[in-house]
Amino acid sequence: MLTLRGLSVTRRNRPVLHGVNLSVRAGELVGLIGPNGAGKSTLMEAALGLVPCTGRSNLAAMPATDRARAAAYLPQSREIAWPVSVEDLIALGRIPWPGGGRSQADRVAIDAAIARMGLEPFRKRTALRLSGGEQNRALIARALAQETPLLIADEPIAGLDPAQQLACLRLFRSLAAEGHGLIVSIHDLGLAARFCTRLVLLADGKVLADGDASVVLADEMLRRAFGITARRFDTPDGPVFLPV
């Protein structure tokens, strides 16, 4: 679904990404972790072909419309520029498809996304007047309406309350179980370890570790990537990390 080979990005003569190899397969929820400025957002943008890069990305190589039908992207900014209704916002996800929001297939996809995100009561409400968590759900529904096999989400749980964070990651988990591929950047190491099927640790534009949480979140890795030591508590629901 997503294959990156030797992906490098240089901005103002400064390397931001350096020879990244990474793949996301169907059924995987890949957690992209790493410190601020490690290049997580740039990696997502470069993979989608939104910034100039060298190396290979199977998505960036596609024609724009094909790419938009292969991968949906949730940027970090969560921008909603106009006071559109939740329904119209979600319908934007149909732009890459032939009906552009008006065909029967479009209606089915939009209704399914609304139902899945529990947005039926908000359907006609102005998206900008919803709470942050509700807006986030509407934006995820927009990405779902795009009906792509791959979902790329940049910090989708940042700024959400614990219940919304859990709901969001549970949804992603079930999407992966249905055969979607997902790559999600995330700062909460405990939640990442608990929900993601695989973790990729990025530091200084390079992949430091790629694999199971026990390998990627080892003490040595956290020290090298974040410059911290973290106490790790194993609980029946997954590990908890306490930076010290």
């Binding site: 943008e45 989608l48 939104l50 724009a64 419309t65 790419r67 938009a68 991968a71 949906a72 992207y73 949730l74 940027p75 900014s77 921008e79 909603i80 520029a81 106009w82 006071p83 559109v84 209704s85 119209d88 916002l89 934007l92 996800g93 732009i95 890459p96 552009g100 007047r129 934006l139 927009r142 795009q146 790329i152």
Partner: protein, 328 residues
């Protein structure tokens, strides 16, 4: 067709007809329409076909152009304060016209003034492309537009400053206020083809503008080419606004107020706002052009003055409503 578009179409058509039937010659409805369609002898067909028809068509086209480009600029910049004059092309067109008046060039041929204004607009587009470049973002475009507008404003002030006599200065000032009076079919033939091309270019941006609701990155990921959109938008706005300013002078507020007024009626979708705003702009400008003929027929009230007089309070009202109601 959406109800709001039907209402606006009927409104614009009615105002177009009313514009044809308004004027000092005092021609009756039936006589006027007969003279317009069938022609015949005497002054009536000349008044209808060569004075009122070009004026009404220009009102329709310039108003539609300003409404359309205003909606496109607001959608592209994701800012309800954007307007077509922002890219500086109308300012440069005005400078070209003012220079033509100052040098006496405008007196040599009927189309010398609009042609000079078009040249000014073309130079403005050239400057804009040089400054905002193929890679620049929307902020670069705004900054370049402001710089060009400032340059054009300074040039216009300089020409006024150096004008040889009060009559030339007077003529310049009156031209700058904008008007549709005494325009001929020649003006139409000069302005309409580029405006049609520009409008067609902007027409293609609807979906991309919709996608931009989610921001530039999300829109690009949905298949919108940022550079392609920027080119279509800059060229489209310039091709509409340059010729419109060249034949009608500077007419403010239509491109700002009309998209603002109509936004709630198209559920705030930028793509759907394009046709609505074009029709609304046409209706507003036709109405204003009828009003200048009815309010002070003997004093030649200028169209741009009236649109500003009506537009500014309307805009204040909208801002007030936005603040109190939270609706943009």
């Amino acid at each position: 067709m959406r109800p709001v578009l039907i209402v606006l179409t009927v409104l614009a058509a009615a105002l177009f007809a009313a514009s044809l039937l308004t004027g000092p010659a005092g021609i009756g409805t039936v006589d006027g329409l007969r003279a317009l369609i069938l022609g015949g002898e005497g002054p009536m067909p000349i008044v209808m076909r060569e004075i009122r028809l070009p004026r009404a068509i220009l009102g329709l086209a310039v108003g539609a152009g300003l409404g359309l480009t205003g909606a496109a600029m607001q959608g592209y910049l994701r800012n309800p304060l954007a307007e077509p004059g922002l890219i500086g092309v109308s300012g440069m067109a005005a400078l070209g016209a003012v220079i033509a008046i100052q040098t006496g060039l405008s007196a040599t041929a009927a189309l010398a003034l609009p042609a000079a204004a078009l040249l000014g607009a073309a130079i403005g587009v050239g400057l804009l492309v040089m400054l905002a470049g193929p890679r620049g973002g929307s902020i670069t475009l705004i900054l370049a537009g402001i710089a060009i507008s400032a340059l054009a404003g300074a040039g216009t002030a300089l020409v006024l400053n150096l004008s040889p006599n009060p009559y030339a200065a007077n003529e310049i000032v009156f031209w700058l206020m904008g008007s549709l009076a005494d325009r001929s079919m020649l003006h139409l033939w000069l302005a309409l083809p580029p405006m049609a091309v520009g409008a067609a270019l902007i027409w293609t941006t609807g979906r991309a503008l919709d996608a931009l609701t989610l921001g530039e990155a999300a829109a690009s990921a949905m298949g919108v080419s940022p550079s392609g959109l920027r080119w279509r938008l800059i060229l489209g706005v310039a091709l509409v606004v340059g010729p419109a300013t060249a034949v009608a002078g500077a007419i403010g507020f239509v491109g700002l107020v009309v998209p603002h007024m109509l936004r709630p009626w198209v559920r705030a979708r930028p793509g759907a706002l394009l046709p609505a705003s074009a029709l609304g702009g046409a209706a507003l400008l036709l109405a204003a052009d009828i009003a200048v003929r009815l309010i002070l027929p003997e004093r030649d009230l200028k169209l741009g003055v009236l649109t500003a007089l009506v537009g500014a309070p309307l805009f204040l009202h909208l801002i007030w409503k936005t603040r109190s109601g939270g609706r943009m």
